[in-house]
Symmetry: C2
Subunit: 347 residues, 2 copies
């Protein structure tokens, strides 16, 4: 979303939450909103989850109150003046105002200036444009099941990345883990009961078109999808898995991951899965995500610093070990996981 060539210049008003901005009411009209909330590092996705709505929904929340533009303090945990990019979702009933991220340091500066009690004005000049969609493709490979080849377990990661870095941790690492898992099982001649289907999805970051196209094109086959497993949290050490499925799924996965206890990678949590595979949830396909330590992930995620040097080969290998056991175990189980209950199939 661009701005007029002369830019937008207005006073800044700051808030750390939707509630705090709403309480300012009419004072927001005609201003540029700065969503300023610090993200703390942790080993789960919780820190990100706590602040990411400010980026994805903040612009429309600001527009509801008459704001001219929306700035968000960069999500992320590093302090190297790096703006963080990522998706936003406008709601239709309010103006689609320009939105941008500022580095943490610049949000802090605006905060200090505002703390003096005097008006602080910002001029925004933004050049982004929305282009037409271009043709792309998912990349698919299979290791056919030895007993039930028509039943499928999808192993998913995504090929695209935000253009600021090269996407080594989001999600190049995941792509490498899926590919190496397939190679490893093949090299060891380990063919599970069901078919393992590696799907390297396109366009996760900017609309989930790859995941949606897969669910649409394979709609007739989804009732025979025993599960979909995604890896999309970088290359920090594996912690276990998360699962959204029917009764008994957590216990079943705990049994499958038991060999990973010595790597401290056997913890199973209920809920979640992955973005690319989420379009299959409506058909009840069990959703599984590899849990990975994200303590440093958000130092790099969606920034210029997401480059190959951030991937530790030893931890990448450990992720492959965990993912291979998870994938083989799910695809080889005598009893498949129960489908996602009807009541949980809508997001």
């Amino acid at each position: 979303m661009g701005t007029p060539p002369e830019g937008i210049e207005a006073e800044v008003i700051e808030a750390a939450s939707f509630e705090e901005l709403a309480a300012k009411g009419e004072a927001v009209r005609g201003k540029i909103v700065l969503w300023n909330r610090r993200m703390l590092p942790d080993s789960t996705m919780d820190g990100y989850g706590a602040v990411s709505p400010l980026r994805t929904k903040g612009p429309s929340e600001a527009a509801k109150l008459g704001a001219l533009a929306s700035l968000v303090r960069s999500l992320g945990t590093a302090d190297f003046r790096l703006p963080h990019t990522g998706a936003l979702r406008y709601t239709d009933d309010v103006p689609h105002i320009p939105a941008a991220a500022v580095a943490a340091e610049d949000a802090e500066r605006l905060h200090r200036l505002l703390a003096r009690g005097e008006p602080v004005r910002v001029r925004l000049r933004m050049t982004p444009r929305m282009l037409e969609d271009a043709r792309s493709a998912n990349v698919i490979a299979e290791l056919r099941g030895r007993e039930k080849p028509e039943e499928v377990v999808v192993l998913g990661a995504h090929l695209d990345s935000w253009d600021v870095g090269c996407g080594a941790v989001d999600d190049g690492a995941g792509v490498a883990i899926v590919m190496e898992t397939m190679r490893l099982l093949r090299a060891l001649d380990l063919r599970p009961r069901r078919t393992l289907r590696a799907v390297l999805f396109t366009n996760e970051e900017n609309g989930l078109a790859g995941g949606r196209a897969y669910a649409r094109d394979h709609a007739g086959e989804l009732s025979r999808h025993a599960a979909a497993i995604e890896v999309d949290s970088g290359a920090g050490r594996p912690l276990g898995a998360r699962v959204t499925a029917g009764p008994g799924a957590v216990d079943a996965l705990k049994e499958i991951l038991r060999p990973l206890a010595s790597l401290d990678a056997a913890a199973v949590e209920a809920g979640g899965g992955g973005a690319d595979i989420s379009a299959m949830k409506a058909a009840g396909v069990p959703q599984i995500g590899l849990r990975q330590d994200t303590y440093r992930y958000f130092d790099w995620h969606h920034t210029e610093a997401d480059t190959l040097d951030k991937v530790d080969p030893a931890l990448l290998a450990r992720n492959v070990a965990a993912f291979a056991i998870l994938a083989y175990g799910v695809a080889d189980a005598e009893t498949p996981l129960a489908p996602v209950p009807e009541a949980e199939r809508k997001d």
Copy 2:
């Protein structure tokens, strides 16, 4: 130094030292040189000193061998895709070829591509221009000495910074330390024998014009300058002092810094001083620098990340304590430090 509008496109050739490039001889002609040597963090300036000639002299070393342009792996110790800026010095007898810094991650990528053994081509398009000098000023304040007001001890730091960050650690912290030292001594009514003269120099980064102008404008007074003390290594914890002066100076400073032993800030080294005050060395003025821990300094130095949040107020206060004791002690000493010996007055 800009490049033609269409840019310069050529093969890259890599070297980690002047010797390594020179050994490549004719292979350098017509190429773009990548100076690629990793800088390691340490608490002294040694790590920087080991690689900074690649930036300052690398372009002319490359031009000697017929290179078209010179790239340097960013000096610095962080891995956040930040290019590092800084001065270079062309020699007159070879072409002044374009020169730029690339982030460590990009140097690593070029290295990996070159390691495949195939030619790697880079296109450079650079827009920098050298503008005319503009008028600026040093900022000077004095605390008059109680016994020998005509004898001066300069307390120096510099006001300018590279434009990528705001210069909080280089050298905003130094400016704050000098100003707070003056305020503190005044508030405590501690007036030393000699005059303390705070000089906040302009244009350290890009030619030392402020330091040179001071030495020129005060040439008649330099014989009565008892010392010049600089602080220009950020806001890491103080370690002690370095000194370039006549016989006995190291021992004299050790005595002055004795009260700082409990802060581990009493270590004195021979040699060095500071860039701004260096123009006074030719007149024999003793050169003193506050030594500071630079372990993290080069994560930020000369990058976008040199912002105020990098300055720890508690460490800043500790630097003021050390600098105040150093400044007061030098200005109050019964016997002044011996001047820089004639043989050491040229750089």
